[in-house]
C-alpha cells in the first residue's frame, strides 16, 4: 500500500465516522421530538385519569401530575348513579343508555344505506350519477347551524321532538353523505368485469351485492361504522338542540354536569364524568383504529 492510499483510507474512515456521528445525532433528534410530542399528547388524558382517582383535598394540595395517595373510584361511582344534572340526581347512567340507544340504530341504518348508495353510484351507473354524488357529498360539509331551525320544527311536526328516535333520524340524514362517500370510493376500485361476469351468470341487483360486493367490503364497513359511531357518540349540537331532560345523550349531560355544579367544583367528578364519556370511543379507537387509519388513508388522499 502506498502512502497516498493510506492517507485517503484514513480520510475515508474519518469521513465515515463523522457521517456516522451525524446520523446518530439525527436519530436522537428525531426520537427526542417524537417523544416530546407523545408526552404532550398523552398529558391531558393522563391528568384526567389521575384527577378522577383523587379526593378533593388532594386535588387542592397537589398539582396536575401529582400521583393520588389513595386512589379511589368513588368519583366514578358518584357520577354514575348519584350526581345531579340540572334537577335530576340519578347520575349519568341513564344518559349512557340514551347514547347507546341513539348510536346503534343510527349507525346501522346510515351504514346500510350508504353501502347501497355506493353500490348504485359505481356499479349501476346512470345519467348524472357524478352530479348526484357531488350533491350528496356537499351534505358532509354543511355547518349544521343551517339546518337547526327547520329541523327543530320538522321534528315537532313528526312528534319526534325531544326524543331519541328523533336524534336517530337526524343522525341518519346527516351521516348519509359520509357513508355514501366511503362506500362509493371503495367500490370504485372493484373491477367492473367482476360485476359484468356476475350479470352474465344471471345474478341480479341484490344477488350481485350480497354475493360479490359484501364479502369483500369488510375493510370499508369497519371504516364507516367507526366513523359513524364516534361521530354520533360525540355529537353535542343535535343532542343539545333537539333533546331535553331525561333523553339527553351523554355529551350533553356531561356538559351540564360540569357547568352547573353549585358550591365548590368537584374536579374529580368532572374528570370521572369526562372519562365515562370518552371510554367507548377510545376503546373503539384502540381496538379498531388500525383498520380505520388504513381505510381513511386510502379514501382521503389519492395517489
Amino acid at each position: 500500500m502506498t502512502n497516498a492510499n493510506v492517507v485517503t483510507a484514513n480520510l475515508d474512515a474519518r469521513a465515515t465516522k463523522s457521517r456516522q456521528r451525524q446520523r446518530i445525532a439525527n436519530r436522537v433528534l428525531v426520537y427526542a421530538v417524537l417523544v416530546f410530542f407523545a408526552i404532550l399528547f398523552l398529558a391531558p388524558v393522563y391528568t384526567m385519569f389521575l384527577t378522577a382517582l383523587k379526593t378533593m383535598p388532594e386535588i387542592q394540595q397537589g398539582n396536575l401530575f401529582a400521583l393520588p395517595q389513595n386512589p379511589s373510584f368513588q368519583a366514578f361511582g358518584h357520577v354514575w348513579s348519584e350526581a345531579c344534572i340540572s334537577v335530576r340526581c340519578t347520575g349519568l347512567r341513564g344518559n349512557v343508555l340514551n347514547s347507546f340507544l341513539m348510536v346503534i340504530p343510527a349507525v346501522l341504518i346510515s351504514v346500510s344505506l350508504g353501502a347501497l348508495n355506493g353500490y348504485v353510484l359505481t356499479k349501476w351507473r346512470f345519467k348524472y350519477d357524478n352530479l348526484i354524488f357531488g350533491i350528496i357529498l356537499f351534505g358532509s360539509f354543511i355547518p349544521f347551524q343551517i339546518v337547526l331551525i327547520p329541523m327543530a320544527f320538522t321534528l315537532g311536526k313528526l312528534h319526534l321532538a325531544g326524543s331519541i328516535s328523533g336524534l336517530v333520524l337526524v343522525h341518519v340524514v346527516y351521516g348519509l353523505a359520509f357513508t355514501t362517500l366511503f362506500f362509493r370510493n371503495y367500490f370504485v376500485t372493484v373491477p367492473d368485469d367482476i360485476i359484468k361476469a356476475a350479470k352474465v351468470d344471471g345474478a341480479g341487483f341484490w344477488m350481485t351485492f350480497y354475493r360479490i360486493l359484501l364479502p369483500i367490503s369488510w375493510p370499508i364497513i369497519m371504516v364507516a361504522v367507526i366513523w359513524q359511531f364516534t361521530g354520533i357518540w360525540n355529537d353535542f349540537l343535535f343532542g343539545v338542540a333537539f333533546t331535553g331532560g331525561e333523553n339527553q345523550p351523554l355529551t350533553v349531560a356531561l356538559n351540564n354536569l360540569v357547568n352547573t355544579t353549585t358550591g365548590t367544583k368537584a374536579y374529580n367528578q368532572d374528570m370521572a364524568a369526562a372519562m365515562i364519556a370518552a371510554i367507548p370511543t377510545l376503546v373503539v379507537y384502540v381496538f379498531a383504529g388500525k383498520f380505520f387509519v388504513r381505510g381513511l388513508m386510502a379514501g382521503s388522499v389519492k395517489g
Binding site: L64, F126, F138, F141, P143, I149, T180, M271, Y285
Partner: protein, 292 residues
C-alpha cells in the same frame, strides 16, 4: 321493453330514493327554508313576511357578531396554520423509518376519537387558573409563573386554539403521512444521486408533491373551524363575558335563547356561504379528475 324489465332498470334509483329524499329535504330543503326565514322578521316562531335583507343589515351592525367573526379569524387562522405545521412536522419525523411507528401514530391520533366536549372539559381543568398548569409551574420552581388565559378576556380565545390544535394535529399527521408514503421513490433516489441535501429534498420535491394532501387538510380544518361549537361551549361557554363568542355560538344563542329566529337564520346563512366558498371549488376539482 316489458314492464318487468323497465322496473328492473329503475331499481337502482328506487334503492337510492330514500337517501335522496332524506338529503333532498334535510340538506337542501332545510337550507332553502333557513334562507327564506332569514328574509323575514320571525322572532320566536316563523312568520313569512318578507323584509328583504334587513336581518343581514342588523347582523352586520351587531357588536356581538363582530366579536364572533373577529374570533373566528383568530381561531380559524391559528388553528389551520398550527394544525397544519405541527401535523406536517410529525408526519415527516414519523416517516424517518423509526421504531415503534405504530405506537407514535396511535398516540398522536387518539385525541380525534374524543368528543369536543370531553376535550373542552379536560382543557378547562388543565388551564384552571389556580389548580392547573399555573400550579404545576409553581410546584416545579417557577413561582412567578402566571398562566390564566382561560379567565382573561384578551387571551381566552387562544385557549380554544390550544385545545383545538391538540385535537386535530394527529388527524392532519395521518393525512400527510399517507401523502408522504405516496411520493414517488424513484424521484427521491434521483435526488439523492444528484447529492441534494435532505432540506432541499423536502422543500423542493416532497412538500410540493404533497399538494393534494395540503388541500384535503386545509379544507377539513377550515370546515372544522367554522363548525366548532361544542369545544367553545365546553371550554369557555363563550366567555369570559362574550370574549370567545364564535359564529356557531352566536347562531345558537340568538335563535334558541334570545328568540331571534330570523337573525339566527341570517348568521347561519353567512356561515354556510363561508364554508361553500371553501368547499365547492375543492369538490369540483376532486370530482373533475375523479372520472375513472
Amino acid at each position: 321493453m316489458s314492464i318487468a324489465k323497465r322496473l328492473r332498470g329503475s331499481l337502482p334509483l328506487f334503492v337510492m330514493a330514500p337517501s335522496l329524499t332524506l338529503i333532498g329535504v334535510g340538506v337542501y330543503g332545510f337550507i332553502a327554508t333557513t334562507f327564506v326565514l332569514s328574509l323575514t322578521s320571525s322572532r320566536m316562531f316563523p312568520k313569512f313576511d318578507f323584509v328583504g335583507f334587513d336581518q343581514y343589515v342588523r347582523l352586520f351592525s351587531n357588536d356581538r357578531w363582530h366579536i364572533a367573526v373577529h374570533n373566528m379569524v383568530i381561531f380559524g387562522g391559528l388553528y389551520m396554520v398550527l394544525g397544519t405545521l405541527l401535523g406536517l412536522l410529525l408526519a415527516i419525523f414519523i416517516d424517518q423509518r423509526i421504531r415503534a411507528e405504530g405506537f407514535f401514530r396511535t398516540v398522536y391520533l387518539y385525541p380525534m376519537a374524543l368528543s369536543f366536549v370531553v376535550t373542552g372539559v379536560i382543557w378547562q381543568w388543565m388551564l384552571n387558573p389556580s389548580l392547573g398548569i399555573e400550579k404545576l409551574l409553581h410546584d416545579w420552581g417557577f413561582v412567578e409563573a402566571k398562566f390564566r388565559w382561560l379567565v382573561d378576556p384578551e387571551w381566552a380565545i387562544y385557549t380554544v386554539v390550544i385545545a383545538g390544535v391538540w385535537q386535530v394535529t394527529g388527524f392532519v399527521m395521518a393525512i400527510f403521512l399517507a401523502g408522504l408514503r405516496g411520493v414517488d421513490t424513484e424521484i427521491l433516489k434521483a435526488a439523492r444521486v444528484d447529492g441534494a441535501s435532505p432540506w432541499k429534498t423536502y422543500t423542493r420535491i416532497i412538500i410540493p408533491a404533497l399538494r393534494p394532501a395540503f388541500m384535503t387538510v386545509l379544507v377539513v380544518e377550515g370546515n372544522l373551524a367554522i363548525k366548532s361549537y361544542d369545544l367553545v361551549i365546553a371550554l369557555t361557554k363563550g366567555g369570559p363575558g362574550i370574549s370567545t363568542e364564535l359564529p356557531s355560538t352566536f347562531m345558537y344563542s340568538t335563535t334558541f335563547n334570545r328568540n331571534d329566529l330570523a337573525l339566527g337564520a341570517s348568521s347561519a346563512v353567512i356561515m354556510l356561504m363561508t364554508v361553500a366558498a371553501i368547499v365547492i371549488p375543492y369538490l369540483y376539482m376532486e370530482l373533475k379528475d375523479d372520472k375513472r
